[in-house]
Symmetry: C2
Subunit: 408 residues, 2 copies
């Protein structure tokens, strides 16, 4: 599919404004901590959520608000996850109420999210105090999307936005998104938080199916540290003002939308992996020749998640044995006798294993490949048609530094 990449993030699609401010949840003055996306009119909306049994209060509230498939705003704070607190649901509801009063929307049309430390009370006061400035500053300009994208960051080292245009029956349809990732990234879900806007006109039930399909192919294949957050959520609002014929059933137009959405989310998923806590390298693991896709996925996940593979990637060490080891303990029924492995980057590709036996490769050639910022491990199981890809990153001193000293 041909897509046109454009600027503007969550403000790229028609019908949306955004803003982000520092309201005071975080102590550091410069760091924005409250983000808002506001639609001009109520939208078809959907979300997918963490599968962690312990989930944040905002998840409870958002799930309730989206039962009617409609939303008009996304409100998200960083610096505190509002999770495992006695008053969590009350606080989340009060946040929605504060936005409703100030922006003139229904509280039940608010998608609410929080990210940051778990188990510490989230003070309502700075959010309520900051609301007028947050709402007053909303704009459809890229600057609004930028401010919002910055306000949801936690240990992310850079904001993560994307936007693209696809054609549906000759009508341009725009999909934009912002997300945050970094730590606690694992299927399912990977992204912690992603907010998507589109001017597509699509029924909310189909929107939910499209979102589930696209997330499964993208964010759910990102692994940073194997932990699955309590607050992960991907939400989408569709303003319906693109002018394309409304999608009310599955068919070619629905498929086009899913494809465009998947392309947008894959770009963000790779950014999440690349910006994993402490990461210096993006690791892509491709598995082919597996008995089936599910097994390929399990193998790709096992290799991408292995701390020993991740530290080897950090050290630019072509440690084939660790890759074979991580394949070998992946769940599933598969044969390991004909495994072939190559390592690759923009500096070239090098076969390092055939028929499960490590080849006598040039260490110098391997080092040249592994010193690059984007590393690919290609695995061919040589026994079927199953294939899958997972994205991850290396495990570094900085990961330990960030997480040994996060709360303080």
């Amino acid at each position: 599919m041909e897509v046109q990449w454009i600027a503007g993030g969550v403000c790229a699609a028609k019908g949306f404004k955004a803003n982000g401010i520092h309201c005071g949840i975080r102590k550091r003055a410069g760091k924005k901590d409250l983000a808002l996306i506001l639609a001009d009119h109520p939208c078809d909306a959907a979300a997918v959520y963490t599968r962690n049994k312990v989930y944040g209060a905002p998840i409870t509230v958002t799930r309730s608000h989206l039962t009617d498939g409609k939303a008009r705003a996304c409100l998200c704070n960083s610096g505190n996850a509002n999770t495992c607190n006695a008053d969590g649901v009350d606080i989340a509801n009060a946040m929605c109420d504060a936005l409703a009063r100030t922006a003139g929307v229904n509280a039940s049309d608010v998608i609410i999210a929080s990210t940051g430390v778990i188990g510490q009370p989230l003070p309502l006061e700075p959010i309520v105090s900051g609301m007028p400035a947050l709402v007053a500053g909303i704009t459809p300009d890229p600057a609004g999307a930028q401010a919002a994208a910055e306000a949801i960051m936690t240990t992310d080292t850079r904001d993560k936005q994307t936007a693209l245009v696809i054609q549906i029956e000759g009508t341009p349809v725009t999909i934009g998104a912002m997300c945050k990732g970094s730590g606690m990234i694992a299927p399912n879900m990977a992204t912690m938080l992603c907010f998507i806007t589109t001017d597509a006109d699509i029924d909310s039930a189909l929107l939910r199916d499209a979102l589930t399909t696209a997330v499964d192919a993208t964010f759910n294949r990102v692994i940073v540290d194997g932990d699955t957050s309590t607050n992960d959520m991907v939400s989408i609002m569709a303003s319906g003002v693109s002018g394309q014929c409304r999608i009310v059933s599955k068919g070619p137009n629905y498929d086009l939308f899913v494809e465009g959405l998947t392309i947008a989310l894959e770009r963000l998923a790779r950014e999440v992996a690349r910006d994993g806590e402490g990461a210096t390298k993006l690791l892509t693991v491709n598995v082919n020749g597996s008995p089936d896709n599910e097994t390929a996925r399990a193998i790709a996940r096992s290799v991408t998640a292995s701390p020993l593979v991740k530290t080897a990637v950090f050290g630019s060490d072509a440690n084939v044995g660790r890759v074979l080891c991580a394949i070998g303990y992946a769940p599933g029924d598969f044969n390991v006798d004909n495994i072939a492995i190559s390592i690759a980057s923009d500096a070239g590709e090098l076969p390092v294993c055939e028929r499960r036996v490590t080849l006598a490769f040039s260490e110098e050639a391997a080092l040249t490949i592994l010193k690059r910022p984007e590393i690919v491990i290609n695995i061919d199981m040589n026994q079927g048609e199953g294939a899958s890809t997972a994205w991850g990153c290396d495990l570094t001193y900085e990961y330990v530094h960030i997480n040994g000293d996060y709360r303080s």
Copy 2:
């Protein structure tokens, strides 16, 4: 059960001699790399192995040698895992042959093991050249056990030995063991390599059952980094010369033996966790009040394995949210609403969570507890009688250092 702890490791039980030398597999001159345990006579023997689908050539050979339930020697090199090499089985067989010629034992009575880097050819020459000195130096003295325990170490920072005496119908029965651990530690199996000797008189089929039971309660509950090695093995040889009435069926005497064996292996399992690669702290996670033992085990594993919990333990950070998060993504069917958590060490115990809500505890008190070298996290699920324990360690800069730079 009352046990008497004694010195002597694998030489403590009657009927065994041991030695360890530097033969030249490793480049560093001082580091021993070849270990031998030799029984005076053929023993009842058993072993349990890694469940990794990619497993080392020594596993293939040992499995074949133990089909008759008999063995007389354990031969183990460090510095090279002899795994994923084209000639691996030939090399492992040649090692057994070399020992057989020199020591006058049957090659098929040799338990063979290798540990170290995967996927690099293991040179036979230094092993064959070193064999006369290895065999000539065997001794039943503790020095022999010490030399053998040192020769199986890889990134272990200290050797790991234990020995104890139990009473079976008034007759003293000794169980001794050495093991190596450090990286790649995860259920199932945890230990990489453990060699056990006993002078108990017990049928080899029962010996295997006893070993499986004891390993399941000990080594299989240790988690260092979630990776499961290709070469893990726990073997046991029983010389039968204690003079106690031979155990030929399950009953009180068999139960006594299993209990003694479990106590010995638990001590080593804790040492493996404490000496996890780069570890500065031993982490024990106790789960009670779970719907059943299996669920308790899954929860204990999830918390012990979480990189975010491990880095928090390293940073002495009472990050309750990360513990709750790791409980929440454990597999199984359980309720999370009534979780209570306390943290403990020899400096005291502090409740930090009740009914899934983080308590307002003293950060100073938490820090005092978490600064200690042995940390305990007690989790009460408050919904049943299931209980389990897992042992692990913190995740540190040193782990990254060791594994980012292991092969070179």
